[in-house]
């Protein structure tokens, strides 16, 4: 086997030194009746060339060269080549969690830069080293709010990504934490009157998403004002982080949970992505996950370490702020490189292009049919209502090598024949015009 650096003579020599006659002597602790005496039923050993062919065949059975109009929590943005050139370096790719700080300063400094950039983007004071993704991060933010307030209930906007809401239910089902949902208005924003009714003296937090699942940008300041008057915390979830290039950061929130996939992370059929949690400094001891902090070595030289680990499972065990251990460090590093490439001006310019594409596309769709939720600003997604079933429309589009919007009926039956469309800098005017034409047929 080509990954194993031993000759048969090496093995024989080692066994002699250990004093065992056959390799199976070393497996003697396994009771005989449980030893596997056959080959595993897995495909036979393949040459590298065969592995390449095998995955080419799999990749070819997926869409390639299609115009993509899907967003809904996973966004297609251009990935500068520098990202993979850097994260493919073995020193990033094949290093462990940086517990041994003296020989892990590269990862630690990169994550410290990540934490800083997330603070700059979100307007929060501290950020952690990453969560699994936006959905689990949102669930953990909710649990954090419960610890901070001592209250045991939560309100979630229905305009939060449906799968995020499902994950929240899974995480909280045995915590005695009832979750109620609050509706949305005709402009796509949170229904404030409904929200006011839903918040009780038990409400630990209200969780909204902005831009929300319909692409609508929430008025975070107004929501925060109501939530804080009721003594609860506001959690803002961000699924399309590129919006922060032009959208005001949710500075009024107490906790921000963000998915960073838009920052140079491949769509990859849904993962790996990286979530991140950011909050106020005064709440830092309740944040889940790893944190990198600046410190000095014995000679006074600047360096970085994992810190405040008494919150974490390996120290606090069942009293930890979360059970998370492995996070998404390499993906956070990708995001850091992406954010460095576009930087202060590029993120604004790029987000502006996304806004322009979606504005053009929604305008074109509106000429032929109905675009819902007018009256509040949007970023790069919008909801189109059609006469035909979106599934049937998408079948039509597929034949023209286009992947249409995300049908909403399943999660939002009240919207009828509606689907969620996304346009990014990668959708050309030509593609958009073709899609509008095909949908209108």
């Amino acid at each position: 086997m080509r990954y194993l650096p031993k000759s048969p003579a090496d093995r024989a020599q080692m066994m002699r030194e250990i004093g065992c006659k056959s390799i199976d002597d070393l497996f003697a602790p396994i009771p005989a009746e449980y030893r596997l005496n056959r080959d595993l039923k897995v495909p036979r050993q393949m040459a590298e060339s065969e592995i390449i062919d095998y995955f080419h065949s799999r990749a070819d059975a997926n869409a390639a060269g299609y115009a993509l109009f899907l967003g809904a929590g996973a966004y297609h943005h251009y990935r500068p080549v520098v990202i993979d050139a850097m994260v493919s370096r073995g020193e990033f790719l094949t290093s462990y969690t940086p517990y041994q700080a003296e020989i892990a300063q590269g990862t630690l400094q990169a994550i410290f830069e990540f934490q800083t950039m997330v603070c700059e983007l979100t307007g929060m004071e501290v950020a952690n080293a990453s969560m699994y993704d936006g959905s689990t991060g949102a669930a953990e933010a909710m649990l954090m709010a419960v610890r901070l307030t001592g209250r045991k209930a939560a309100v979630v906007a229905r305009s939060v990504h449906p799968e995020y809401r499902e994950v929240m239910h899974t995480y909280t089902q045995h915590q005695g934490l009832p979750i109620t949902e609050c509706g949305y208005l005709g402009n796509g924003r949170v229904d404030m009157a409904d929200l006011e009714k839903k918040i009780t003296s038990d409400t630990a937090c209200v969780l909204i998403q902005s831009p929300n699942f319909f692409g609508t940008i929430e008025d975070v300041a107004v929501v925060a004002d109501l939530v804080h008057r009721k003594g609860a915390l506001l959690v803002v979830s961000i699924a399309e982080a590129l919006s922060l290039g032009i959208v005001k950061p949710p500075v009024e929130a107490d906790i921000v949970s963000m998915e960073t996939q838009s920052f140079g992370v491949p769509l990859g059929y849904g993962g790996p992505y990286a979530g991140v949690m950011a909050t106020k400094e005064k709440f830092v001891r309740q944040i889940p996950g790893r944190l990198v902090g600046e410190t000095k070595d014995k000679d006074g030289k600047r360096g970085f370490v994992l810190t405040l680990s008494t919150r974490e499972q390996h120290i606090r065990r069942e009293k930890a702020t979360s059970n998370i251990c492995t996070n998404q460090a390499l993906i956070a590093t990708m995001a850091t490189i992406y954010l460095t490439i576009y930087g202060r001006e590029g993120l604004k310019e790029l987000a502006g292009q996304n806004l322009a594409k979606a504005t053009y596309a929604s305008g074109e769709f509106a000429k032929k049919g109905k675009v819902l939720f007018a009256g509040a600003p949007r970023f790069n997604e919008f909801v189109v209502q059609t006469k035909d079933d979106p599934q049937a429309i998408n079948q039509r589009l597929l034949e023209k090598k286009m992947i249409g919007g995300f049908p909403l009926r399943w999660h939002y039956p009240e919207l009828g024949n509606a689907s969620l469309w996304c346009c990014t800098e990668l959708n050309s005017k030509e593609q958009i015009d073709a899609a509008v034409k095909a949908v209108g047929q």
Partner: protein, 502 residues
């Protein structure tokens, strides 16, 4: 210091590099966008009060500086690609490059999770084939690939147990966890609403079966067991353990962190395990990336299948694959979409590169390597448990501690010898633990270098303890002030003059 003993490493030039923010200056750029082919939109007008004033202290640098910055940072890391990483329970094995190449094929890397099933058959097939391989490797009946990491898999598995017991009328109150367990186990039980009850090990470093029998009752949902356990010892009375749990209606959860000791040699499903997770970033060689991403598939017996997270992949009559969301008994989703798919691709590539013979040889080599190290070091370091070792061996610092040298000091000194340290102070059942897992990826030469280094350090601890206690001596930073870092946390960079943001 006695540089003559250090065979593996030499000192080399190491570039200094500040934070990226310290390189920034207005007007530098590392990007250029394609021209906009639709009318420009004034975002301040379009977004009104929700528009952003500026992007604060986000950096402005050129592409050349970015390459130098991240390349320089990378050289400050130790990595498997540089040498042995003997971290116990972490299974730091070789991460094959072909895995990285195939995961980046556009058809896989650019697939949107909501693209229609008819243009996602390739991705679903990868998940299906990997699932089938993992089921035979574990001896289980059903599987989900959705969990994003090991601890996430633990949570999923305990939720399955909870749902199953609930369906039988009583989810029960407690989970038993051995004192040698990973910290994620008790933290997971707590998230799933269970109280944790500690289970003591016996003098052989295994579960005390009579204590288990005494503690097991109708209030206990089950046991979370790592096997081989964190001492690297196979739980020889595994079936007795399973029987005791099953007799009282409980379930056996296996933490699969140490599966690298078992693949192709024995199957948890055959020795009584009801549900377990695998760490694809350990046993199945997906890269650790400085802390993640991982992937933690959960495999279970038939009785738990109805409760698996949704969706699950099903094969239709015509041979095509689809996601089944109609799972009324499901515990729900544990993550959006389908899990860390990119890791599924890599794990399958690893499995194909090995085949049945390679997987078995891998396990044998991993166990052989650990026993070789044990044999070579048992005179120099105290071995607290005499039971046979599987894929890892745990020593203690009790000999060296007599001179005031502790496991953490020995670990730091190992850095000077060109190695990443072993796992320090874990498992908690061994005072001053030195936990070594070589994996199958090390040659005899590399193992001998580690043995020589550990022996040299044992001598130094005897003759010049201060040398060891002040290590490392050759790194770009010396021991860092962790207490100071925690007392006054500095968790982000700030510009000297004005405050950040808006």
């Amino acid at each position: 210091m006695s540089d003559k003993d250090i065979k593996k490493a030499t000192r080399h030039v190491n570039q200094n590099e500040g934070l990226i923010f310290e390189r920034s200056s207005p007007g530098k750029k590392a990007y250029r966008l394609a021209p906009l082919d639709v009318p420009e939109v004034d975002y301040k007008k379009a977004l009104g009060a929700t528009s952003r004033a500026n992007l604060g202290n986000m950096p402005e640098v050129s592409e050349m500086e970015i390459i130098r910055h991240f390349t320089r940072l990378s050289t400050w890391n130790y990595a498997i690609d540089l040498g042995m990483y003997p971290l116990g329970s972490c299974t730091m094995k070789y991460n094959a490059r072909v895995n990285e190449v195939v995961a980046r094929f556009p058809g896989l890397a650019n697939a949107h999770p909501y693209q229609p099933a008819e243009v996602s058959q390739g991705a679903m097939r990868v998940m299906k084939i990997l699932s089938e391989c993992l089921l035979d490797i574990t001896g289980m009946d059903a599987i989900t690939l959705q969990p994003a990491a090991g601890a996430h898999g633990e949570m999923t598995g305990i939720l399955l147990m909870h749902a199953y017991l609930q369906s039988k009328g009583n989810p029960r109150k407690k989970i038993l966890i051995p004192d040698s367990a990973h910290g994620t186990n008790p933290a997971t039980a707590a998230i799933c609403g269970y109280a944790v009850e500690n289970l003591k090990s016996n003098s052989r470093g295994m579960v005390d079966v009579s204590a288990l029998a005494a503690q097991m009752n109708e209030n206990v949902a089950g046991l979370m067991l790592t096997n081989p356990n964190t001492l690297g010892i196979f739980e020889q009375e595994i079936h007795k353990i399973a029987d005791i749990l099953h007799e009282k209606g409980g379930l056996l959860y296996m933490d699969g962190a140490n599966m690298n000791a078992l693949v192709g040699k024995t199957r948890p499903g055959d020795f009584g395990v009801d549900v377990m997770h695998l760490n694809l970033h350990k046993t199945f060689s997906t890269p650790h990336g400085g802390g993640g991403p991982g992937s933690g598939p959960v495999a279970c017996k038939k009785i738990l299948e109805p409760f698996l997270p949704k969706p699950v992949i099903v094969e239709r009559a015509d041979g095509t694959l689809a996601f089944d969301y109609d799972r009324p008994k499901s515990v729900g989703r544990v993550r959006m979409f389908y899990g860390n798919f990119g890791m599924h691709v890599r794990a399958l590539a690893y499995t194909l590169a090995n085949g049945p013979d390679g997987l078995r040889q891998t396990t044998e080599d991993a166990v052989l390597n650990a026993n070789y190290i044990r044999k070579k070091l048992e005179g120099d370091y105290h071995l607290p448990y005499q039971s046979p070792s599987m894929h890892e061996v745990v020593f203690s610092d009790s000999i060296q501690e007599q001179k005031g040298v502790k496991t953490g000091d020995i670990a730091k000194r190992l850095i000077d010898y060109g190695f990443h340290p072993y796992t320090v102070s874990f498992p908690l059942v061994v005072h001053g633990a030195i936990m070594i897992e070589p994996t199958e990826s090390e040659s005899v030469e590399e193992l001998d270098l580690l043995v020589d280094a550990m022996k040299a350090i044992a001598r130094e601890a005897e003759e010049d303890p201060e040398l060891v206690k002040n290590a490392p001596h050759t790194t770009r930073v010396k021991r860092l002030d962790e207490t100071g870092a925690a007392r006054k946390p500095v968790l982000r960079w700030k510009p000297a003059a004005k405050s950040a943001g808006e």
